[in-house]
């Protein structure tokens, strides 16, 4: 059975923004997309392990604050160098105004 973790309230992330969520020694990035939808990826950039939560969300892309690599946070796809490795993504569901992630 999937273990859903309560990450944050839906109102804790602005639309087109991201926050950091740490759990059990791991770090994640939770995104609020422009369509009001939510997503979750690993929290660290695959280039040099920088927290993506400091980066810029534009549409469905996150830009890393260190060297400006971009990822599609829905699929985790690395879109722009210097990142060559995709981000891992995790299932998300919304329940009672809370963002739950399956990790």
């Amino acid at each position: 059975m999937t273990d859903w973790i309560d990450a944050c309230g839906t109102d804790e992330i602005d639309e087109e923004d991201v926050i950091r969520f740490d759990h059990d020694g791991r770090t994640f990035a939770i995104y609020h997309g422009p369509g009001g939808d939510f997503f979750c990826t690993d929290g660290l950039c695959t280039h040099e392990q920088v927290h993506l939560s400091e980066g810029l969300v534009m549409d469905y892309e996150i830009e890393c604050p260190k060297h400006n690599a971009t990822f599609d946070y829905r699929s985790g796809a690395a879109l722009r160098a210097p990142a060559c490795v995709n981000l891992t993504t995790y299932p998300v569901k919304i329940e009672d105004g809370r963002v739950l992630i399956a990790i």
Partner: protein, 358 residues
């Protein structure tokens, strides 16, 4: 610290990794997320305006230069064209390489490719070298883009005002890459998956230069080379002048850009050519802020930064004696005093470096 070893494969590179200087956590001024988001916002409009102005002026200056050729009356137009080709291309390469100049990614990519050609920096190889420069800014043995090493090679610096070393190295590397080879130092920061791209671009460039030289031979004039290639030499001076100020004479092996980078107030023409990279501490601290927002970022964080230099001349007057002193004593550097409102950071690294300045 003894003699510095700037090789990316040398003893200082190894030491930087062992001591945690490499890929360290760097200082950032605290900015509330909402303000930071506003500063990071992208727009196409400022860079489209600047790009039309830049390429429009280049076409006009080159056109007048060709029309007046070979009269000496063409010289001022070539000088103006050269600065835009051989210097503005440096900042366009830089900003579009970060992907921040335009909002639209393809616009960044187009201007990046054109600017890389003009400044003779392989767009794929240098994307990686510049990423390393941001990870390990002026960390000896790690940063491949240290313009002024210690002791400084002043003859080299002066020669580069006419592109006499950097441009030739760029063309040399282009031929090396076009032959299907990647230099061992490049291999230290470029992933193997990128090698074919490096080589492909180098071959396209060789074809463009070959066509230009062939045309020059065919018409018996260097005029085609005045348009393509030579302006990288006769127009290089402005980007070298501004570039050496970025970190020259300041601390190395620290993890706080306030101590190793220099912000200089500049005149509007230099700021257009340099695309606001005179706000260099700000750029390094927050590389995702686009060039057109750097003045606003500067206003927001200047309470936490050393006082900027007030002009290019003042910055040179500060840097030049320090460089001369480094000729005799390479551990010397300009100590940056933080204002009383600033937060100090990682004293362990800084004390070691600052102690050597006494």
């Amino acid at each position: 610290m003894g003699k510095r070893d700037y090789s990316l494969l040398g003893a200082d590179a190894k030491r930087a990794v062992e001591t945690g200087l490499a890929a360290a956590e760097w200082y950032h001024t605290d900015i509330p997320r909402a303000q930071m988001k506003a500063l990071m916002q992208r727009a196409d409009q400022p860079a489209i305006r600047d790009t039309i102005l830049l390429y429009g002026c280049m076409i006009a200056f080159a056109g007048i230069g060709i029309a007046l050729w070979p009269s000496w009356w063409s010289a001022p137009f070539w000088l103006a064209y050269g600065v835009l080709y051989g210097s503005a291309s440096d900042s366009r390469w830089h900003e579009c390489g970060h992907g921040t100049a335009f909002k639209t990614r393809t616009y960044n990519d187009w201007v990046y490719q054109i600017a890389s050609f003009m400044i003779v920096r392989n767009p794929h190889a240098w994307r990686w070298s510049h990423a390393r420069h941001h990870t390990d800014t002026i960390i000896v043995g790690r940063d491949p883009e240290i313009a002024l090493m210690r002791p400084p090679d002043l003859a080299r610096m002066i020669a580069n005002f006419l592109g006499l070393i950097d441009a030739w190295n760029g063309w040399g590397r282009m031929l090396y890459n076009a032959a299907g080879r990647i230099h061992p130092e490049e291999a230290d920061y470029i992933p193997e998956t990128e090698y074919p791209k490096v080589i492909r671009v180098a071959r396209i460039w060789v074809a463009i230069y070959a066509a230009t030289i062939a045309l020059a031979i065919a018409i018996g004039s260097i005029l085609p080379l005045m348009v393509i290639g030579l302006p990288r030499l006769y127009g290089a001076w402005h980007h070298v002048m501004t570039g050496v100020l970025q970190h020259g004479g300041l601390a190395d092996n620290v993890v706080d850009h306030r101590l190793n980078s220099r912000t200089v107030y500049m005149n509007p023409i230099s700021r257009f050519i340099y695309w606001n990279m005179n706000y260099h501490v700000e750029h390094h601290m927050f590389p995702m802020v686009p060039y057109h927002q750097l003045p606003a970022l500067h206003d927001r964080i200047k309470h936490d930064l050393p006082a900027p230099n007030r002009s290019i001349a003042e910055a040179f007057a500060e840097m030049w004696p320090a460089l001369k002193r480094q000729l005799r004593y390479e551990d010397y550097f300009l100590r940056r005093d933080l204002p009383p409102t600033a937060k100090p950071y990682r004293e362990d690294f800084h004390d070691g470096a600052l102690g050597a300045a006494e």
